[in-house]
């Protein structure tokens, strides 16, 4: 704080996830561009390492940052430490995954959320699949980490589409966000249900595993949708091996949240409610 | 009168019949010897009596009741204490803890009463003459003989009805042995029955009242000691007349060239800092005598390149050499039969044949590939040469009796045809028959021009084998004796460090 620039602490999830890595790159570019604040960024060891996020909040309180911008790994666990940060006079902005409403109420925390609608996004992808297959289409879901909020949201979004398009949900299993596991799990699901027509994968890494499994099985009649729009799925959407994915514009998300936080730090009005960020369905052409 | 009796006991391990009909009885207050060749089944019987494992057939009665302890605890409760042949100490714990391991004293709330524990250990060690050992030191700091004494003292502190000692003297020198015998006499006077296993018949004839002979898992006979002679016992043990040892071959062979010499050798294990010098000639057996802990092992380890050398030089064929490890020493034609076969000599889980070829893999392989046929052949040949007693060459060495394991160690080094062979306690735990065989083999080696350096705590052994005996005390060579000067008295005098009296100074 030597040069009196406000300090923003950015807490993300695992940077081993390219979504957050890209977000970090975006935020760093943003810091460079604006030049009027100092960015401290941390990720966590792995998806389930909630403690390190709490540690990060505590460390930021110790360091006396002006704002904390956080993508919570668990929507409930983070409420209390963030409340502590707010009590210490730090501006807190919650982005990417919303804190749990009930938990907020219980702790008497009032905090706005800046971010996309994960459930809505998943429903966009699910709807694309539903439209393609029509009612009665047999689908399966490849879920993210059980117990993780965004995994939960995305599953719920897919299930919304299943209900709306009267799809036939044959099976739903986790592959822990991971390509190889998705490949294995889906191959086995396909053996158990050879009549699968569509697959909803909760992220693109898993969608890649599914696509490879379909190739090995010699099936080109099964439609796959994913989520995240990582570069690696670009060619797959292009050549029709995947129907669609969903882009949450992660690169800008942290940067936008930081803008909002700095606004408040400079004396702007506190944020309220849900500041929605864009999501977009990505399909061929 | 007989208060423990064993009838028709059988026990097998896989295909091996370790006990094949054992019957004998113990009287109250006697010292009863069990003797027999390696692998005859003595330790197996003892393990059954002490509840380590159950027997297959037969019956045991103890104090008039059927006796079949389910575990060591039960046997101890009934008054049977054992010192097993293999070490059963906890290296990382203190001596006091080891002595009290069966029943550690507790003060209030189950808390360990260290003071009492140390006091008891002190008493137990004092009783056996280990007055100069700190009971709070870890067992790992002790030499092998001291460990044996600690185990004995542990068993002695309880008032048992039967005390079983399985080869307690194998690792002891004369002094500790005679101390042990005094103690045995004392507890015998208290009415305790002592079972004593030893391959040293003179010990058996010194302290025992009766002797039972084992052969191939069967009991051959039980005799009052006064009704038999060592020769008679040996004959029963081996089932034949033992070939008279041709060791009185006083005809001194001419000494060969110097095969290996050591000048002012000081290793990291030697705290005194003064070096050791010695010379070994081809065709000569040099004995290295000394008390336990006098530094015999460390000389051999230093020569063989195991312990780093601090100062001094080693010459092989008069040329200075540096052995940076056993590999170099072996390449220079040196072999080393180590003292502790379990920790340093054998790969217990591996087949007999694999152990025999361990130091000479080149001979049983070509371009890195094992030649099983040649390995088998070589192993079978050395087995025959050493009269090894085994089931199959593919059995793990751990299934052999102690003496036969020792022969495997020997076979391993002989298979390399070493020019210089260092031997540390080469006959520890070996039965009389096998011992004679090993002596003959060593003599043959010397006759073939090999140079041998033998460390032994058995003075008679050194006197039979050696052409010269060096006596060590406090890491220093106190003197050298020629065959004419060989006598227990001369050796012990030097070994007790009275170097000023008697014996020629070396060089």
């Amino acid at each position: 704080q030597a040069d009196d620039k406000p300090v923003v602490g950015l807490i993300m999830k695992s940077l081993a996830n390219e979504f957050f890595q890209n977000m970090l790159v975006g935020a760093q570019a943003h810091e460079e561009k604006r030049g009027d604040y100092k960015l401290l960024a941390v990720g966590m060891q792995n998806e389930t390492d909630f403690e390190s996020q709490i540690n990060a909040v505590e460390n930021f309180i110790t360091q006396g940052v002006d704002a904390i911008v956080v993508a919570p790994a668990d929507s409930r666990a983070m409420v209390r430490p963030l409340k502590k940060a707010m009590a210490a006079g730090i501006v807190v902005v919650n982005f990417d995954v919303a804190l749990d409403a009930d938990a907020k109420k219980q702790q008497n925390v009032d905090l706005a959320f800046v971010g996309p609608d994960n459930r809505g996004g998943a429903k966009l992808a699910g709807d694309a699949l539903g439209k393609k297959l029509g009612a009665g289409g047999k689908v399966v879901i490849i879920e993210g980490n059980p117990g993780a909020d965004n995994a939960n949201e995305r599953r719920l979004g897919f299930e919304d589409s299943v209900a709306e398009y009267k799809l036939d949900l044959l099976d739903s299993r986790t592959a822990h966000w991971e390509t190889e596991e998705a490949n294995t799990v889906f191959s086995n699901m396909l053996t158990a249900h050879p009549d699968i027509q569509g697959v909803m994968a909760a992220n693109d890494s898993m969608a890649i595993g599914v696509v490879k499994a379909l190739e090995s099985a010699g099936r080109d009649d099964i439609v796959v949708v994913g989520f995240d729009n990582i570069p690696a799925v670009g060619p797959m959407i292009e050549d029709g091996r995947m129907l669609a994915t969903v882009d949450q514009f992660g690169t800008d998300m942290a940067a936008n949240s930081i803008d909002l936080a700095l606004e408040v730090v400079k004396g702007g009005a506190p944020l309220e409610g849900w500041v929605k960020t864009p999501i977009e369905l990505v399909t061929a052409n | 009168m007989s208060f423990l009796s064993v009838e028709g006991l059988k026990k097998h391990f896989g295909g091996v019949k370790a006990l094949d009909g054992v019957s004998f009885s113990l009287d109250k207050g006697e010292v009863h010897a069990l003797v027999g060749e390696n692998g005859a089944g003595k330790s197996t019987l003892i393990k059954i009596l002490s509840g380590v494992f159950p027997h297959d057939e037969g019956s045991i009665s103890f104090g008039g009741e059927a006796y079949q302890p389910a575990n060591p605890h039960e046997a101890k409760e009934l008054g049977v204490q054992v010192v097993h042949q293999e070490f059963n100490l906890l290296d990382h714990l203190t001596i006091a803890e080891n002595v009290s391991i069966e029943r550690m004293p507790r003060s209030r709330f189950g808390v360990l009463d260290r003071r009492e524990m140390n006091r008891r250990a002190r008493m137990a060690l004092d009783a056996i003459g280990l007055t100069d050992i700190d009971v709070r030191a870890p067992v790992s700091s002790l030499g092998i003989a001291h460990r044996q004494l600690v185990e004995i003292s542990r068993a002695l502190q309880f008032r048992s009805k039967i005390l079983i000692l399985d080869e307690p003297t194998a690792t002891l020198t004369e002094r500790e042995t005679s101390r042990l015998f005094d103690i045995v006499a004392g507890i015998k006077a208290d009415g305790v029955t002592v079972v004593f296993v030893s391959h040293h018949l003179e010990e058996v004839f010194t302290i025992c009242d009766r002797v039972t002979v084992f052969r191939n898992g069967k009991t051959i006979s039980t005799d009052k000691i006064e009704d038999t002679t060592p020769e008679g016992v040996v004959q029963k043990m081996v089932g034949r007349e033992l070939l008279a040892n041709d060791r009185v071959d006083a005809q001194q062979l001419p000494k060969g060239e110097v095969a290996l010499s050591v000048k002012d050798l000081v290793t990291t294990a030697n705290p005194s800092g003064k070096g050791v010098s010695l010379e070994l000639h081809y065709g000569e057996i040099v004995g290295l005598a000394g008390l336990v802990g006098s530094g015999r092992t460390e000389i051999l380890r230093g020569i063989f390149g195991i312990d780093p050398i601090v100062s001094g030089k080693i010459f092989r064929d008069e040329k200075p050499v540096r052995f940076s490890g056993p590999r170099d020493a072996i390449a220079a034609g040196v072999g080393f039969v180590t003292e502790d076969r379990k920790d340093e000599g054998l790969i217990l889980d591996m087949p007999i044949s694999a152990n025999i070829s361990l130091a000479n893999m080149g001979a049983v392989s070509s371009s890195g590939l094992l030649q099983f046929a040649s390995e088998q052949r070589r192993a079978r040949e050395s087995g025959q040469k050493l009269k090894l007693k085994y089931g199959k060459l593919s059995d793990p060495v751990s299934s052999l009796s102690g003496g036969n394991q020792q022969k495997v160690v020997l076979a391993k080094w002989l298979s390399r045809n070493p020019k210089v062979l260092l031997l540390d306690e080469p006959t520890r735990g070996v039965d009389v028959g096998a011992k004679a065989e090993i002596y003959a083999i060593l003599k043959d080696l010397a006759r073939d021009g090999v140079s041998l350096l033998v460390v032994s705590s058995e003075i008679p052994e050194l006197m039979t084998l050696a052409d010269r005996i060096l006596v060590l005390a406090e890491h220093q060579i106190q003197g050298v004796l020629t065959p004419a000067e060989f006598s227990e008295e001369n050796i012990l005098k030097l070994a007790y460090g009275q170097s000023q009296t008697g014996g020629d100074k070396l060089q």
Binding site: L15, A16, L40, V42, G43, Q45, N46, T48, D49, F50, S52, I54, N55, N59, I61, T62, Q63, D74, R76, A77, V79, R80, D102, Q106, P146, G147 | S50, V52, N71, P72, H73, E77, H84, F87, N88, L90, D91, H92, L93, T94, E97, I101, E102, M104, R106, G110, V111, L112, D132, I133, D134, R136, A137, T173, P271, L291, G293, S294, A473, G497
Partner: protein, 332 residues
């Protein structure tokens, strides 16, 4: 026999303790070096707040590592502690949120639920691995899966939350800046240290790790001692679950993934031998500090996550290499 360096004026035990202090000091020196380094190169490392943070942050690992020390001392290993912790937390979370209890009762119920769950898993690990003399590595790997699956099943993969306020309170309360949960962990360390050094039970655990057969031949029921060691480890996993809940105010079925490796690392960095029979729980305390200080300091110093992970690996290796030289030097 006469020989022996009888010129020793210092009793062996005294020297032993000095040596064992040095033994621990060895890894203590590595810790000191780390602390010094971070104090110099970061601004906030030695602030009271940050020290509080570090203490809080190492608590769970320390609690798990204390139990792990018992298991490793007997020559075993327990890979299930992370999962068992999650399972215990979920069961306790279900208990604490049961309707119709006052806060005090609910908390008591949760504590009982967590420890009973942990202990039950520990007993299972111990009985199965000791009875059949099976490698505890594989048995506890099985338990890792069982407990994780059970945690997810019981909680239906949902985070359980809204615990009584008093529970939170306990999780974040301090005594002179020292978190109460850390004091709980420290108490466990002391109790463990006492048990291992001053009770017959503790000495026999060392003995079992050293030479199981010898302890059996001395007439001790080795089976039960082994079960006890695993049970203690399960118990500490239950305690860790309570600390976790009090600290995060939630129970998550996916908590504790990979915690077993951290706990084992603390034990081994602390000088306890993986083959059993040698080591100390004080070493474990220092090992847990090394891991915690490293994690904290590397963040403060502002390294990127990936660099941080690499440096963590390098420092762990350097710590044990240093310890080697320390051991070599002091044994001279």
């Amino acid at each position: 026999m006469t020989s022996q360096t009888m010129t020793e004026p210092v009793p062996a035990q005294a020297r032993l303790s000095v040596r064992s202090v040095l033994q621990n000091a060895g890894i203590g020196l590595a810790l000191l070096a780390l602390i010094l380094f971070f104090s110099v190169f970061t601004e906030h490392f030695l602030t009271p707040n940050n020290i509080t943070n570090i203490l809080t942050q190492i608590t769970i690992n320390l609690v798990l590592a204390v139990g792990m020390t018992f298991v490793i001392l007997i020559g075993g290993i327990d890979l299930s502690v992370g999962s068992v912790m999650a399972f215990a937390a979920v069961v306790a979370g279900k208990a604490i949120t049961l309707p119709g209890f006052g806060p005090a009762e609910a908390i008591a119920l949760a504590i009982v639920a967590a420890t009973v769950t942990g202990v039950a898993c520990g007993i299972f690990n111990g009985v199965v691995s000791a009875y059949w003399a099976l490698p505890s590595f594989i048995i506890t790997l099985g338990m890792l899966n069982i407990a994780r699956g059970a945690a997810l099943q019981v909680s239906d993969a949902q985070t359980i939350y809204s615990f009584p306020f008093a529970f939170e309170e306990f999780g974040s309360s301090m005594v002179y800046g020292v978190p109460v949960v850390f004091l709980v962990a420290l108490l466990l360390v002391l109790v463990a240290w006492f048990i291992l050094n001053f009770t017959v039970f503790g000495r026999l655990l060392y003995g079992i790790g050293n030479n199981e057969e010898a302890v059996r031949l001395a007439g001790h029921p080795v089976f039960w001692y082994k079960v006890a060691a695993f049970t203690i480890c399960g118990f500490t996993a239950g305690i860790a679950a309570i600390v976790y809940m009090a600290r995060l105010n939630i129970s998550s079925p996916i908590a504790g993934i990979g915690f077993e490796l951290n706990a084992i690392a603390a034990v081994i960095i602390g000088g306890t031998s993986l083959s059993g029979g040698r080591g100390s729980v004080i070493g474990t305390l220092l090992g847990a500090f090394i891991i915690g200080v490293l994690a904290n300091g590397l963040i403060l110093i502002g390294l990127s996550d990936f660099m941080r992970q690499m440096i963590t690996g390098v420092v762990i290796i350097i710590a044990v290499v240093l310890d080697y030289y320390r051991a070599k030097y002091t044994s001279k």
